[in-house]
């Protein structure tokens, strides 16, 4: 009895399934992987802005080198320290340049490095140690030091501090070294929009937080400035507070593959080490990628994917650290720019590999327009 009922049921299910299977969806064949949702034919591109009159685009004059031989410089690195091929290394390079060009004695410098997932207390202890050893100025690399720095800088008002990537500490003896990432991102957005064949590009952010949203905002604005109807796929690997998004290439690969499958052909990542996954996905698909922070075309670890990296958004932490030490040696911190932007070469784009040489004129025109103020780049995503 039961068995017969089972047969009836199975027959009913199969019949209805066959009926349903017969129907095609309205969207027809355009949907799945590859080429879906692109509008290659309609990718109108604006011409580059005219060069501003009077040659206002020239960079601000550099300060003359001061004598730093009397300084004792302490540097507190972020997680990873020297050798991370990213911004700690860049800060280290700035310090090295100060040693070789400003007469800073290597013996008078001290470098300490943060551990992963350490407490605020450990960061504060590290800064206090530098203070009590008589280091002045002290450079904290990374916004993670903000809270600790606020405490320590209040305790030691006679020591000068600088903090990279954070402007939340408002004390007279703390100099924020912040960058106009959105301006550099604008330029690589321009490059992406000029290079895309499908009129669809992608952005992969590591962690969805205001700092990374600056990259996104500039990139999208730059792309739309060139091609108003371009589509930009924006994805983040993890939400705010979950920093694994900066060290998870597996997720980077999945997200980038998703963007490539939906038709994007240039992908910009601001995802730290997760960017490896983005590069691998892009290489597998034979498309183009844009690196971040340093000139990723020349990073040894990325040598086998470098042929897909058309350019990188440069964030010159080394310039900021050097300029800060130079200003500190001269005893006049007021000469430092409020933000390290395109004008002072604090951000920019890389030309290694020669993949953007053909559009260099347009990129430079946009760069000049940003420097002259003709184009204002927003720091928060608009949508």
């Amino acid at each position: 009895m039961r068995i017969r009922r089972g047969f009836v049921l199975a027959a009913a299910v199969l019949t209805s399934a066959l009926v349903v299977v017969g129907c095609a969806r309205d969207t027809g064949t355009t949907q799945p992987a590859g080429g879906g949702g692109t509008n290659a034919g309609a990718c109108a591109r604006n011409s580059a802005p005219p060069a501003p009159a009077g040659g206002a685009a020239s960079a601000a004059p550099a300060q003359p080198n001061a004598d730093a031989s009397g300084l004792k410089v302490g540097v507190a690195f972020d997680i990873g320290g020297r050798g991370d091929a990213s911004f700690n290394d860049a800060a280290g390079a700035g310090l090295d340049r100060a040693i070789s060009q400003l007469g800073l004695a290597k013996a008078n410098t001290k470098e300490l490095t943060a551990g992963p997932n350490e407490s605020e207390d450990a960061a504060a202890t590290r800064l206090r140690q530098l203070v009590s050893d008589g280091y002045n100025p002290i450079i904290a690399v990374g916004f993670k030091y903000a809270t600790a720095l606020k405490t320590v800088a209040t305790e030691s008002p006679n020591t000068k501090f600088a903090i990279v990537d954070d402007s939340s500490v408002d004390l007279p003896n703390v100099t924020p070294l912040v960058f106009a990432e959105e301006q550099g991102s604008f330029l690589v957005g321009v490059a992406a929009a000029l290079k895309t064949q499908t009129c669809k590009i992608g952005f992969v952010g590591g962690v969805e937080q205001p700092l990374i949203q600056k990259f996104q905002a500039g990139y999208v604005q730059g792309a739309k400035a060139v091609a108003p109807n371009i589509q930009v796929d924006v994805d983040y690997l993890t939400p705010a507070g979950d920093f694994t998004g900066f060290s998870d290439p597996a997720k980077g690969q999945v997200v980038a593959t998703g963007q490539l499958d939906s038709g994007a052909d240039v992908i910009y990542h601001a995802a730290g080490a997760s960017g490896q996954g983005v590069f691998q996905a892009v290489k597998a698909a034979g498309k183009s990628a844009i690196g971040v922070d340093s000139d990723q075309y020349n990073i040894p670890g990325l040598a086998d994917v470098k042929d897909v990296i058309i350019t990188s958004m440069l964030k010159r932490v080394d310039v900021a650290v050097f300029d800060y030490l130079n200003a500190a040696a001269a005893g006049n911190l007021s000469t430092l720019p409020k933000t390290f932007d395109l004008k002072v070469d604090g951000v920019g784009y890389a030309t290694s590999g020669g993949k953007v040489d053909d559009i260099a004129a347009q990129l430079d025109a946009y760069k000049a327009a940003i420097i002259s103020g003709a184009i204002k780049v927003g720091t928060a995503p608009t949508s």
């Binding site: 299977v21 949907q31 799945p32 993890t238 999945v254 996954g277 691998q280 990325l302």
Partner: protein, 414 residues
Amino acid sequence: MSAAPQSDPRRPRIPTWVRVVSVVAAGVVILSVTATLTGQYQLTSRGTTQAAVLLLLPILFAGLGGLWSERAGVINIGLEGMMILGTWGAAWAGYQWGPWAAVLGGIVLGALGGLLHAVATVTFNVNHIVSGVAITLLGMGVTKYLSTLLFEPISQNPRQSPRVEAFNTFSVQPVADSLASVESQQRVLLSDVAGLLGGLLSGLTPLVIIGFALVPISYLVLWRTRFGLRLRSCGENPVAAESLGVKVVTYKYVGVVISGALAGLGGAALTLNPGQLGYLEGQTGGRGYIGLAAMIFGNWRPGGLLAGSALFGYVDGVQLRAGGEAVHGLLYGATILAVGLAVVWVARRRWRAALIAAVAGAVVYGVYYSIDTVPREFAAYAPQLVTLLVLAVASQRLRPPAAIGLEYRRGEGD
């Protein structure tokens, strides 16, 4: 896979394979209907399935590792640490001798972590949680030290290994291609099945095969052999097992070392992931713990933990590939599921369960109706939320091994 021995004696017991097949079929139908009605075709696309397989693999290995250890009565919260050791071992062996060496390297280093855990918990009766946490911390520290020592001279980066050659991917041809052509026709149900199946049959690596094969193998070894019965008896009642002549300590050692080896294999899977250049500090990102959660979700059984890790992998894949809109579409699917369950339970006259399911369905549909997209903050944690929900509903029926985490000394039953 869940055997429900307490089921109603008046009903003839439905064979397990029929239940598994019907659950899978119901899932596919729900996904298909959802994809069709919400227009979120990414839910059943080949790319999503591939992403899900890639993401579930390390979790599956970690979960299997947890299974072997916990069935022998040892809580293994050190899976994360063994996995980290595995990523390092895989990268170290892999960059010198290729992908198969990487697999072996991951297994060996993971097994060493397991051995340490066994020495601490079985021989010295250290609290299992304490030892597990210590091994996780140790794994992080040791790999950091070793990679600074051995990787930095080559990769110029103490946090990263040189490039490890990955496995070539392959597809089951000609099935994969014909499935792809069916998928592109976008026929209701047929294309969804083709997409889901196509993802499982293309872009494969040997590790995927090993991972899926280890699920039935674990089941057969643990439940269908004398060795497995003895190992499980150590997790249920070691004193009774000992009185029957089982060498409890040996079995526990074997269980925990295999557990570490499987976790290490999970680490190797992560290192050999197609998107990866090799070892990277912090790349496990808590996947060992998620594997443990998947195992608990699966009621300490291989099939169940496969379902748990598939759930994590799939929801994570959908979320990463297609974003909040697709997870929003999944809410629609959850509504269908809840209504379906309510109908089933009404038919079985389980009024309370039916009422709860109906209310839950209504709530989920309300959420679906009132928002356009699931905020990214929620979408990223969708797998965790789903697991929490399932555990909350199903925890009454979960049954861990009876003597898990308990101290055992040889001869204490005398």
